[in-house]
Symmetry: C2
């Protein structure tokens, strides 16, 4: 498929940051008509620390998912269609580059320290398969799937 398949192969549990991001996006999706929504409203609804959520929304804004309005009467709002926000994009943004397994990347390749010869590494080959299959799932589920089920 494409280079973007490299993005995923196997993910552990989502961080709170990412989970909160999904909650916030869902909230914003549900309150689209209201124009903009306060950080505090989302924080209160889900019992999240205002300041923590603030950082998350800022990241989502910088990444182009949200717009905002400063000052009195301001707030955040979605600037993308929910169907154009795949789970993979959000997870990637918030969970960030952490534990690496560069040995499954074709585009940014780096050998594992413990592998003498990657070409002969069965783990590498199987994990590439898993990556391809998992990516297929997460690229195709979007915020709109979440909203449909609320």
């Amino acid at each position: 498929m494409g280079w973007f398949q490299e993005l995923f192969y196997f993910c552990k549990m989502l961080s709170k940051k990412t989970k909160y991001a999904f909650h916030a996006l869902t909230y914003l999706g549900k309150h689209k008509e209201e124009g903009s929504v306060l950080i505090q409203d989302i924080a209160t609804e889900h019992g999240i620390s205002h300041k923590f959520l603030e950082n998350i929304l800022l990241e989502l804004k910088k990444a182009g998912f949200l717009g905002s309005k400063k000052g009195k009467g301001g707030g955040y709002y979605l600037i993308k269609e929910p169907k154009d926000i795949p789970l993979s994009r959000i997870i990637r943004l918030l969970d960030g580059p952490i534990a690496l397994l560069p040995c499954v990347s074709l585009n940014y390749y780096e050998a594992c320290e413990e592998c003498k010869d990657q070409v002969k590494c069965g783990l590498n080959k199987v994990m590439i398969q898993v990556r391809d299959e998992t990516l297929n799932i997460l690229e195709n589920k979007t915020l709109s799937d979440i909203l449909d089920k609320e």
Copy 2:
């Protein structure tokens, strides 16, 4: 280069513990005929700390994947057929939950603090789908798939 690097290093991957476990299992699978294998042999082969690997092998033994023999001439050996060791079992043992959220985990379930009503949570429902599809992949790939590719 910044954005590029981030693209390919964004997701939580397998912990070293789990990765080493797979390497050890693969090594044991390849050296089945020899009866038993020393921790040190595996550690040396992959440049892993002996003591760290020792803990991992002990866990694998307690979980019923390996047998061992103490004393001179001892070592570890597989007591399950590679085809009966799915990736999911090893990942769960060493890394914990496969689900992306605690509220959709089969083996490590925990209610979300921030969810007033899980039954109405769209994120929960979508993540259950993701879990089922991901599990389907990880339960059907086994150690024998890795060995076949070595």
